[in-house]
């Protein structure tokens, strides 16, 4: 029997952690980050259906960023003074996208945002065309990222540049 999410073709991914150095520029960058995720979803399924939300808060207040419609842009609610450290939560609940790819795109969007986001410890596991799963950034010994016509490297070169990185970046989960 299908779950309701399966019936709707939906999935969700979330992260939480701490943001260092929150200010107006960071808020703008976070808005751009949500748009980047939304545009990826749009490119995947033709239209972004669902929502992408983020909250940044301290004991004294917080903001929420909400994207439900690419043409409308990110809606900002609440107020938060510049602060050295705040808590963040981000989640995307979308339809017609692959969960692993969504998680992966969110990681990259956060990395590209230019905002210092420190994640609560969490493994990020996905397949990325591998026939197995492993943690983001791990060396797994497979040949992802190596062109098909590229000859096998000898073991000495392998040591200098390990093959089989899960993707182009490593993430620091604390």
């Amino acid at each position: 029997m299908k779950t309701s999410a399966e019936m709707a073709g939906g999935t969700a991914v979330g992260f939480k952690g701490r943001i260092r150095g929150f200010n107006a520029d960071a808020e703008r960058r976070l808005g751009d980050m949500l748009m980047a995720i939304g545009r990826w979803a749009e490119s995947e399924s033709g239209v972004m259906m669902g929502h992408i939300k983020m909250s940044v808060s301290t004991d004294t207040g917080g903001i929420t960023l909400n994207l439900t419609d690419i043409s409308e842009g990110v809606l900002h609610h609440g107020a938060l003074r510049p602060t050295r450290e705040a808590e963040f939560h981000i989640m995307a609940a979308l339809t017609d996208v692959d969960r692993s790819e969504l998680e992966h795109e969110m990681m990259h969007a956060m990395d590209d945002s230019g905002v210092f986001l420190e994640f609560d410890h969490r493994g990020h596991s996905h397949d990325h065309s591998h026939d197995h799963e492993h943690v983001h950034g791990d060396d797994c010994g497979c040949r992802i990222g190596v062109k098909d016509d590229e000859p096998e490297q000898d073991s000495e070169e392998d040591e200098e540049e390990p093959r089989g990185k899960c993707c182009r970046r490593k993430y620091d989960f604390r």
Binding site: T3, S4, A5, M7, A8, G9, G10, T11, A12, V13, G14, F15, K16, V47, M49, G50, H51, K53, M54, S55, S57, G61, G62, T64, T68, D69, E72, G78, E87, H89, I90, M91, A92, A93, L94, T95, D96
Partner: protein, 210 residues
């Protein structure tokens, strides 16, 4: 199970805990109306309990509500209409015992079927007549949902006791009328045109909860 109250949703002036389940697709405005309802009843001196559900293991609404001073129970990592029914059952039982609220507001995920949430709440011994499903539809994206997710979208609001036609502000009158006409054709329940952003129609909505 049929609709508990086919025309108006019962308010919290009678005996027993009143439950409102906010149904609607992702991004339809459920959280906005959760806050509207909560503020309304808190201002009226009622004891309110909130339960929010998130599909992912990490959500945003619980932390947002807490940062705005609301006390909310959060059930993450699944759907309370199917994969988390046992968690919902236990949470409702706990809320009744520990908080004993006048009003209990439940926001399932935008991928949930609210009628299934109602069934689980009824199984805790809550009077079905005291449970109202408030379906929320999004005017700007109504046609898109009908085109891409028609079956699920219509099932999601099919057992609503009241439908809020949300985000009507700034939309052409004919579009809003078109949405109302489709809903009227399908469902024998009142539909109110509202805007969570401009608060248009919100007073009529709150008056409907009697």
């Amino acid at each position: 199970m049929g609709r508990a109250n086919p025309y108006l949703i019962r308010g919290p002036d009678g005996p027993g805990m009143i439950v409102y389940i906010l149904g609607g697709f992702l991004g339809s405005g459920k959280t906005t109306f959760l806050k509207t309802l909560t503020k309304h009843y808190l201002d009226s001196g009622k004891k309110v309990a909130i339960l929010v559900n998130e599909m992912g293991d990490i959500g945003v609404d619980g932390s947002t509500l807490r940062s705005e001073g609301f006390k909310a129970v959060e059930l993450p990592d699944g759907c309370i209409c199917c994969t988390l029914t046992q968690s919902l059952f236990e949470a409702v039982a706990g809320i009744k015992e520990e908080i004993d609220p006048d009003v209990f507001i439940v926001e399932p995920t935008g991928l949930a079927l609210p009628q299934k949430v109602r069934d689980t709440i009824v199984s805790t011994g809550t009077d079905a007549e005291n449970i109202g499903i408030i379906g929320i539809v999004d005017v700007p994206r109504f046609d898109l949902f009908m085109e891409r997710k028609k079956g699920f979208f219509l099932e999601q609001i099919s057992e609503s006791d009241l439908i809020l036609v949300n985000k009507a502000d700034g939309q052409p009158a004919e579009k809003v009328e078109g949405v109302l006409a489709v809903l009227k054709d399908l469902y024998d329940v009142p539909a109110l045109v509202v805007s969570g952003k401009t608060l248009e129609g919100v007073d009529r909505f709150l008056e409907a909860l009697r």
